[in-house]
Subunit: 354 residues, 4 copies
Amino acid sequence: MGQKLRVAVLGATGYSGLELTRILLRHPRVERPALLRRPNTASAADSEKSDSNLADIFPALYGNGGYPMEPFSWTSLKHNGVDLLFLATPHEVSRELVPQAAAQGMRVIDLSGAWRLKQAKHRTIYNFPDDESVTAAEVTEKAVYGLPELNADKLAGASVVANPGCYATTIILALAPIVRAQLANLDKGIVADAKSGVSGAGKKPTSRTHFVSVADNLSAYSVFAHRHLGEIAEQLQIDADDITFTPHLLPIPRGILSTIYVQFNRPMQAAEVQDCYQSFYRSKPFVRVFSSPRLPEIQFSLNTNYCDLGFCLAPDGRRLVIVSCEDNLIKGAAGQAVQNMNVMHGWQEEEGLL
Amino acid sequence: MGQKLRVAVLGATGYSGLELTRILLRHPRVERPALLRRPNTASAADSEKSDSNLADIFPALYGNGGYPMEPFSWTSLKHNGVDLLFLATPHEVSRELVPQAAAQGMRVIDLSGAWRLKQAKHRTIYNFPDDESVTAAEVTEKAVYGLPELNADKLAGASVVANPGCYATTIILALAPIVRAQLANLDKGIVADAKSGVSGAGKKPTSRTHFVSVADNLSAYSVFAHRHLGEIAEQLQIDADDITFTPHLLPIPRGILSTIYVQFNRPMQAAEVQDCYQSFYRSKPFVRVFSSPRLPEIQFSLNTNYCDLGFCLAPDGRRLVIVSCEDNLIKGAAGQAVQNMNVMHGWQEEEGLL
Amino acid sequence: MGQKLRVAVLGATGYSGLELTRILLRHPRVERPALLRRPNTASAADSEKSDSNLADIFPALYGNGGYPMEPFSWTSLKHNGVDLLFLATPHEVSRELVPQAAAQGMRVIDLSGAWRLKQAKHRTIYNFPDDESVTAAEVTEKAVYGLPELNADKLAGASVVANPGCYATTIILALAPIVRAQLANLDKGIVADAKSGVSGAGKKPTSRTHFVSVADNLSAYSVFAHRHLGEIAEQLQIDADDITFTPHLLPIPRGILSTIYVQFNRPMQAAEVQDCYQSFYRSKPFVRVFSSPRLPEIQFSLNTNYCDLGFCLAPDGRRLVIVSCEDNLIKGAAGQAVQNMNVMHGWQEEEGLL
Amino acid sequence: MGQKLRVAVLGATGYSGLELTRILLRHPRVERPALLRRPNTASAADSEKSDSNLADIFPALYGNGGYPMEPFSWTSLKHNGVDLLFLATPHEVSRELVPQAAAQGMRVIDLSGAWRLKQAKHRTIYNFPDDESVTAAEVTEKAVYGLPELNADKLAGASVVANPGCYATTIILALAPIVRAQLANLDKGIVADAKSGVSGAGKKPTSRTHFVSVADNLSAYSVFAHRHLGEIAEQLQIDADDITFTPHLLPIPRGILSTIYVQFNRPMQAAEVQDCYQSFYRSKPFVRVFSSPRLPEIQFSLNTNYCDLGFCLAPDGRRLVIVSCEDNLIKGAAGQAVQNMNVMHGWQEEEGLL
């Protein structure tokens, strides 16, 4: 198997970072990852200095000597021969660190939304203070949107990988076969009604993530104003107004189910649609296409890197309902990041992910 | 206040029947309701003979001498001077009993789907064996769809009230102001993505209602094939193909949130939409219209008879997302039945419901 | 019915305060309560100044013109003829305000732990800075522990009522009949294993109340160190070391179930035990004694002011397991406060609580 | 690594059987397990004939060609060279099949309670119709109680392994260090207050496992009458009356937390107790002893084979509260079965379990 890859994780104390660490610890091709404490960046002064061991934050990791965390510095990363840096950090932090990584010649997989968007109009929602800078333009150009099912060819040589958003993954994978085959009647509009578990809202305690606010409840939020809309439109090469995307907060810890409504240009047969999906994802190990009218549920893909797709066609042959499920922390974040690493290095796409 | 109304409940052992009993027990205008054991009808031989007291089934009712159940018979109902019969029974049972009630001259409010549909094409999904009979045609004609916000005038003299479906209530109330004002572009299609708590699936234990199947999960079901679609189309006077309705099973005991997507014929202002809703529901005590962009959540209407409505308008002014919430056992069933009773008798609509 | 009582609530923005407000709004003997914004006390500078309407904090209260909040001042309370003040405030705040109320001659029901303990050794866990003061001694002496089932006679003339802790209520009510009849072998030790829903931990968002921390979990906390231990011991007149009390955090919004283990001095018959409980609580409307071996569950008492008791006796006749349930926000807080108000004023104990 | 072991699983369609199948599929020392359909035994005529593929029952297994199930027969098991049979079957079925396996010379690990108890008085609760038979006596004698932390030496040569009950595992492991060191004052009585997720109640839908019955609830059951009491007493070599064991049903899918109360013969120091636990479990990879007063929670051991132990000592040094957690389907069932297999074959105890 040769030399193992040396990797480091910044942000292991968040939900995605923890999952990422767990997957990397089991991955046969990488060394035990270095876990880094967040630096004092301009945008994020609330460093994690006091956390000396990941097991203190996540007692599920108790035992085995623990998981000591190290201070972050480019010098020590270089000194330790780290080949690949994972950023599981807020987008403000990633916005600062990715250009530094590029300048250091270090490959990076960024789980935040900092570098996913190519078009300036879609980035306005983030209000990046550096968006006009030359460096930002350079990094934006070289960053590859890390959805391996669509962009595997660009990932091989990538130095900056922008890992997709959790909602965006379920929606793009559900729509790509239909939209790329130009079967969708965009004039009628697409609806993506998405529901996510609470880990998607992050680990910070807020009144919104308080147990009493979430339990026995369901709520819609960020209607017409969610950050993932831009990446969905860009990857599907459609206008953002052609799709209405509504996220909801589910009373479960993890998992996403997106129900997607699209209309066809002409009446279709269920078998045609089935074929369209199955041929599109034939050699893609992490997309499971269910046989219509069987539909995936959130439980089926929990704790896996699968995105599960199923659909029902209306009797009129013109309206399609697609159900798309994933574990938001795995296929929607950490697992996909590792899948990207695998593709970048020419390894088997499933390595360390089954 | 005069003489109190004598009422009876058949089906108090189900979730809706229990809520109905609780509300009637507090209602200032009705006598303590007679609780009836289900008869041995042709369609439902699994009678509830063994249940002698409702508190044995629902220990939350423990104390106060209990709630004894009586055998069902038309003779004894007449003998006891019962004025109004509530049926919280499966639709097969209601299909048999409502014509009998009509023949006896007894007013009835039926919580099932047995008599909600006027158009034969919408009834095919129920496969009623008696659908061609003269009696069925007569009862169908006289039955009033018991959504008091739309049909208050017909309720006054009604002898048979078909209480609406839980999903249908949230969707019809959300769409009526827009559709009746002919603002909706039906050609673009309407989407109603609805999510319900498990009590909506009934009390019978099945693998689908097992805690382990529901918890930490979300699933879509009956896509393009749910029974409530017909009543939605009939009440909105639209074609059933103009609306795509997808129900989902939420990991919560009760409550419904429907997210509804409609496109306008012309660009609208948020204030126009707000005004459309507020004027439509001005004198309707059980519809709360939220000020956009504030949206209702399931928790807000739990244990109340409210249907809560809120909306967001797209920046393009053409796409509207409406969020509609209710407690499926109250406004979606038992509370609405009592509201119908109030309107039928000319009492205050809120009587016993606040 | 005569003149209605004028009451005010300080702390309506907390979970207990909200429940209290809801109950008082329905209470036939009190005026619509004044809702007060918390003052800038020395100990609690995070006043609720910005909250002008309770419906903004709890949108479930939407409609009906809202629930405006007023600034707190003794002058305006007096001016408005307020007869009784409810404090649903942190114990530090109550520690400051109750002596002021006493000085003003205003009766007060305090839901916090500030004035529940008579014995100095039990109060050390609170670290009250004023515990040695003359005023504190005076208020401590006059404060009545507001468990109406045990202390109804003292409540009639009380000017300061210390409303019991939620856990303490379930445990004291479960043990009082046995302990007062001197049936318990205290030398063997009593165990109270208690489990509470998350609302008991308060509304403040913390990592402990984050949905992802609580869901799919159970945890014990404050073992041998919970504040309610002292009031349990005092009310049962036993040594605190005679009882081991362990609270747990349940993944539910509300409700407490305490499982209590006690050994008898001599072998008993189940019928004797049943009789002991039933005669003790014969005229107590809010304690429901289940017939052994039937046991209460948390659901049975939710949204009610009941404390439900059930028990199982070991075949050896010496070991008793008692199960005690309540809604922590009602019988464990707001409902009990109103029950205390009813008893203080010589009204029916159930007034406004059924 | 040599030849892999050939194993078969009967009962893969249950929750424990599914977990077992998943673990065996990943185990480096065993062939892909044969999945057997349940035979028509006298006691269990409801065979699983119709289930041809495990993925039809658990769609989470979708893909990878599925998991076909084979009819059960001793002939075909022998023919296929199966070395070890796992029974994840009801105890009635295991009671019939284990003697047959013994007669065939096939080693078996039985996950049911059929063969755990040595003493006739503890078996009466099961009402085994064959309990007086010679065969039953023989199998009982040779069956090893498969708790590897206590019985590793007997497992090596075992032909019949009775896998422990889920509750029993948490309680025995929590108490063994104290009881074996004769530190416990048994005269004062031990209390084990245990709480389990719903998967412990099995997959069969009942009114007790209905989502609406479990959610927002907690209930105690089988007080003084749970089947696991006998095995706890036997393994700890104490009298069953020395321990009071109360199970509760938690509103979570999986996981057990047992809170255990024991009194010491003499005052102890926390360090002594810590030392007692740590030395007892020093070389046991699947028991994690937390440093007092840190306590385990259910989440920490979910999806692992760990039993987590933590404790708090009373200030008086005489009362100990132990908290013991596990995943009931893993350390409480399937994982422990695989751990037993590992120990039986002299493999590393952790093989396939990390």
